[in-house]
């Protein structure tokens, strides 16, 4: 044949998919198919979740009194609300924020440690069948409704915490500042410690699942290369697996934090509900989301309270959005993917 099978001509980057010259012979490569019209028509539907988020934020912002956010009373540390003089109310938003940050922070520290241990042992050390069944078991925990955790915490754990665990912790570990401080006078057991532990149990399935996925997806050749250099299983886990899976672990932490901040029902049932900066981990306090739940029954009686609740919700929404965004960014990082794809894996 005189005619070359493949010939280069023209310029790269010209617009248009179909090449009109290539059309006549039946053996030629078919032109690119057009995107169907319905793909265009349907794509706004895919945007709906995004539109919903914006709508929720806007409606909340303007149904409440936006000015409230800029009033010093909103940001004070003393809560004051007298139903007989609702206009003099002071909302002490930072107080609730402290409660939220404290419980979510403790819960996340515990959950991260626990999930790392669980994820590493189920993917690296335990035999595959056992690892898989334990993984399934952790996933099942994620399906338990939060109110069940709450009632379990309130009915079963709280009395034990108040009468046995908290006094014991304080007398044995009280010399560590974190475990020191006063016990609750009523020995009810509800408070920062119990709420943090319940939150931990609720967050662990989520963070474990994400960390497990990222550990499992570390390319096998990288692990083999490490073993071939005489690394033990633990050294390979620490220096290769965790390093490559780093972005997944970070994503899990942010997502877990977002979940812990937003959880309201279970926390409200075991946090105590006192409007105070907790003097110790044994004392009761409140969180932003627990406050919303506690106060909603009287919200429509006092317009001032309603405005405050709405502004609380707006700030909570923004904070969780930020953490979910951080989680997305962390796990979407190309850093860990680049080198392995460059190695042709």
């Amino acid at each position: 044949m005189d005619q070359p099978v493949l010939r280069g001509e023209g310029s790269v980057g010209a617009a248009g998919h179909a090449d009109p010259v290539a059309a006549p012979t039946p053996a030629s490569i078919a032109p690119a198919r057009r995107t169907p019209w319905w793909a265009w028509a349907l794509s706004p539907i895919a945007l709906l979740p995004l539109i919903f988020i914006v709508l929720i934020a806007l409606v909340l912002l303007f149904s409440g009194d936006l000015k409230l956010l800029f009033e010093p009373g909103f940001w004070s540390f003393n809560f004051y609300f007298n139903p007989l003089a609702p206009s003099q109310a002071v909302w002490a938003f930072p107080l609730y924020l402290v409660g939220t940050a404290l419980t979510a922070g403790i819960a996340l520290a515990l959950a991260t440690a626990l999930s790392l241990a669980l994820a590493i042992s189920t993917t690296v050390y335990l035999p595959a069948w056992l690892g898989r069944s334990l993984g399934t078991l952790t996933n099942l925990l994620a399906g338990i409704p939060s109110v069940v955790y709450g009632i379990w915490g309130y009915v079963v754990l709280a009395p034990y915490f108040g009468l046995t665990l908290q006094p014991a912790l304080r007398s044995y570990l009280g010399w560590i500042p974190f475990f020191g401080g006063p016990l609750s006078e009523t020995a009810s057991g509800t408070g920062v410690l119990l709420a943090s532990l319940i939150l931990t149990i609720m967050v662990v399935p989520l963070t474990t699942a994400i960390i497990r996925d990222s550990l499992v997806s570390v390319p096998h050749p990288l692990l083999e290369a490490s073993f071939a250099l005489g690394a033990t299983r633990w050294e390979t886990t620490r220096r290769v697996r965790l390093r490559v899976a780093r972005s997944g672990v970070r994503g899990a932490v942010f997502l877990g934090f977002g979940r812990a901040i937003g959880e309201s029902v279970a926390v409200a049932m075991v946090i105590g509900g006192q409007t105070q900066i907790p003097p110790s981990i044994y004392s009761g306090t409140s969180t932003v989301s627990a406050f919303l739940l506690y106060q909603q029954d009287s919200a429509f009686i006092y317009p001032a309270l309603l405005h405050a609740l709405v502004e609380f919700a707006v700030v909570l929404l923004l904070i969780t959005l930020v953490f979910n965004y951080l989680a997305q960014r962390a796990s979407g990082e190309r850093g860990a993917v680049g080198p392995t794809s460059a190695a042709g894996i």
Binding site: P221, L222, R243
Partner: protein, 224 residues
């Protein structure tokens, strides 16, 4: 296999070349669904012995894979990986990194960019980086599983040149599907077929006067 020599392992696809050299440093234990029998001795010591730690075996008997596998770290940290496991002092690591990169004939190309991510190197450079990484822990034997399979001719040439340098100090075992490569680089060659060792001999003798008819058929290109 002898010290200060290159031993090539040739044979058709699926004949057990890779599995064979993976038994030599107990990497074969990383795969599942197989049964391990028989014996491998390193300087008269049984490496599958009950009291032998596979981790220690792999320190003595290094390995380079078909495709270059670099860790998502800097060039320097890649070479230092094995040394860090032993918590070697920094100045020792520095010296060993430079020495290994020189031995792997990569030093001149990377001396100014040691802190750059290793995946920025070309495929051939990455493979030499893997060789440097294996050399850094000071093994006595270097196993190479088709080290040039994913490289272009220039990269292949550099690795083959390197083999002549390496065999001054190490025992090298190289798996290759390329008979010309075996003829070029190996002192001794072993021919595998169907999971069995058919013949092992001086490379020259194996290619010029094979004793087994199967070997003859393979090297004359009648199958495989």
């Amino acid at each position: 296999m002898h010290d200060r020599e290159v031993t090539a392992i040739i044979g058709p696809s699926g004949c057990g070349k890779t599995t064979f050299i993976r038994t030599l440093n107990r990497m074969v234990e990383m795969s599942s669904g197989l049964r391990i029998e028989g014996s491998v001795r390193y300087r008269e010591q049984e490496i599958y012995g009950a009291r032998i730690d596979p981790v220690q075996v792999r320190r003595r008997i290094g390995m380079v894979f078909q495709r270059p596998v670099v860790f998502p770290q800097s060039i320097y940290e890649n070479v230092a990986f094995g040394l860090r496991l032993d918590r070697a002092p920094p100045e020792e690591v520095d010296a060993a990194v430079v020495r290994s990169l020189q031995r792997a004939a990569l030093w001149e190309e990377v001396r100014g960019i040691l802190k750059r991510p290793a995946f920025e190197l070309s495929g051939g450079q990455q493979q030499r980086l893997c060789i440097a990484r294996a050399l850094a822990v000071d093994p006595r034997v270097l196993l190479m599983d088709e080290p040039t399979a994913s490289l272009d001719p220039a990269g292949t040439q550099r690795i083959e040149d390197l083999l002549f340098e390496l065999k001054r100090e190490y025992a090298v075992v190289i798996v290759t599907h390329n008979m010309q490569q075996a003829a070029r680089v190996a002192d001794r060659t072993a021919f595998f077929f169907g999971g069995r060792l058919v013949e092992v001999d001086d490379t020259k003798r194996l290619f010029e006067a094979p004793r087994d008819p199967l070997t003859e058929q393979y090297i004359t290109g009648r199958f495989g």
